[in-house]
């Protein structure tokens, strides 16, 4: 199978930073952007452009037999500029997810797959048992597997052990915009695994994305926060800046928090004392 050439410029958005490398491909941007729920395709493309993202998620769905152009996204995305990350959204079993991944690889000529196996339609939380099974099968079948998973260390360790290209723990439920509900879990996962950790799902606004990067995330995957904003293009730019800011702060090393004040001006040579 011919894979898409790696046409993305290697290097980092920030001087001195390492490039963001995932599944053997290097990206300048640490933002992965979804292509769903924008008011129209023009705004989607403009938001993608403003975000700086080079890796875009897409879903795999039945071709509309009545109107073949309907719904397909490939006509809007310049594949010389962007890599596609197909997902298995909507799958409830490992078997469905594996078949969807195989169809995605055949249709899009990429071995990367975002594996989602959902366990409950109201929360869209992952079914861990089925997720692990799907990922195991897909790693064996030669895929570069990026699993959407719980913010659970043990699940992430198992996914790493079986050979996934990254782990993508949620910040909070998909589309909820609630931001990072459990920063300590994410911090522990980042400290204990060696593969990239991408925060996927739940980001609501730019500060959430900055926080994810400050916690040590290697990247952030988001969709609704941009697509559903009043001004998607401006929010896309805000996310780009937040992710760069958060990454820079992480690398700079923040000061420890203290309960009491520490004067920042000199305490010697005070007037009148």
């Amino acid at each position: 199978m011919t894979m898409t050439d790696n046409h993305i410029t290697a290097g980092s958005a920030l001087p001195g930073d390492d490039p963001f490398t995932i599944a053997g491909r290097s990206y300048t941007s640490r933002l992965l952007l979804g292509t769903s729920r924008y008011p129209n395709p023009r705004l989607m493309i403009d938001a993608v452009e403003a975000s700086g993202a080079e890796l875009l998620t897409v879903s795999i769905r039945r071709l509309n037999l009545g109107d073949q152009g309907a719904g397909s996204i490939l006509g809007y995305i310049d594949r010389a500029k962007y890599d596609l990350l197909p997902n298995t959204a909507g799958c409830y079993t490992a078997r469905e997810a594996v078949l969807t991944a195989q169809l995605a690889r055949e249709a899009l000529e990429t071995d990367m797959i975002k594996v989602e196996v959902i366990g409950d339609e109201d929360t869209l939380l992952p079914d861990v048992e089925q997720l692990l099974k799907a990922c195991q099968d897909l790693v064996k079948a030669g895929f570069q597997v990026l699993p959407y998973c719980n913010d659970d260390l043990i699940t992430c360790l198992k996914l790493q052990e079986m050979g996934c290209a990254a782990v993508m723990p949620l910040a909070s439920p998909i589309g909820s915009g609630m931001g990072i509900r459990n920063p300590y879990n994410l911090q522990i996962i980042r400290e204990r695994i060696t593969i990239p950790m991408i925060i996927d799902a739940g980001i609501g606004t730019a500060s959430d994305a900055a926080r994810a990067m400050e916690l040590g995330a290697d990247g952030v995957l988001l969709n609704t926060a941009v697509a559903g904003a009043h001004h998607p293009v401006e929010m896309a730019r805000a996310m780009r800046m937040a992710i760069e800011g958060g990454r820079l702060a992480h690398r700079a090393g923040r000061i420890p928090t203290r309960l009491y004040a520490t004067a920042s001006s000199p305490t010697e040579g005070m007037v009148g004392r």
Partner: protein
């Protein structure tokens, strides 16, 4: 013969996937589509050869918006 295409029952005489696509006005050379028959992906190179049979379940997919 009767088979299912994307969940819809259809009546067809097309012996292969390639002919079925052409019959439905779908260009089999276009990029970005894939086919599974009875939950098994059929590689593009086999579309002209893989025989369709009575009761087959054919799924024809493409990439849509996704998060």
């Amino acid at each position: 013969m009767q088979l299912r295409l994307n969940g819809q029952p259809i009546e067809t005489l097309c012996p292969t996937i390639r002919e079925l696509l052409l019959d439905r006005g779908i260009d089999p050379e276009q990029r970005g589509i894939a086919v599974a028959v009875n939950d098994e992906v059929i590689l593009r190179a086999m579309w002209g050869e893989h025989p369709l049979g009575e009761g087959d379940d054919v799924e024809l997919i493409t990439a849509m918006q996704g998060g």
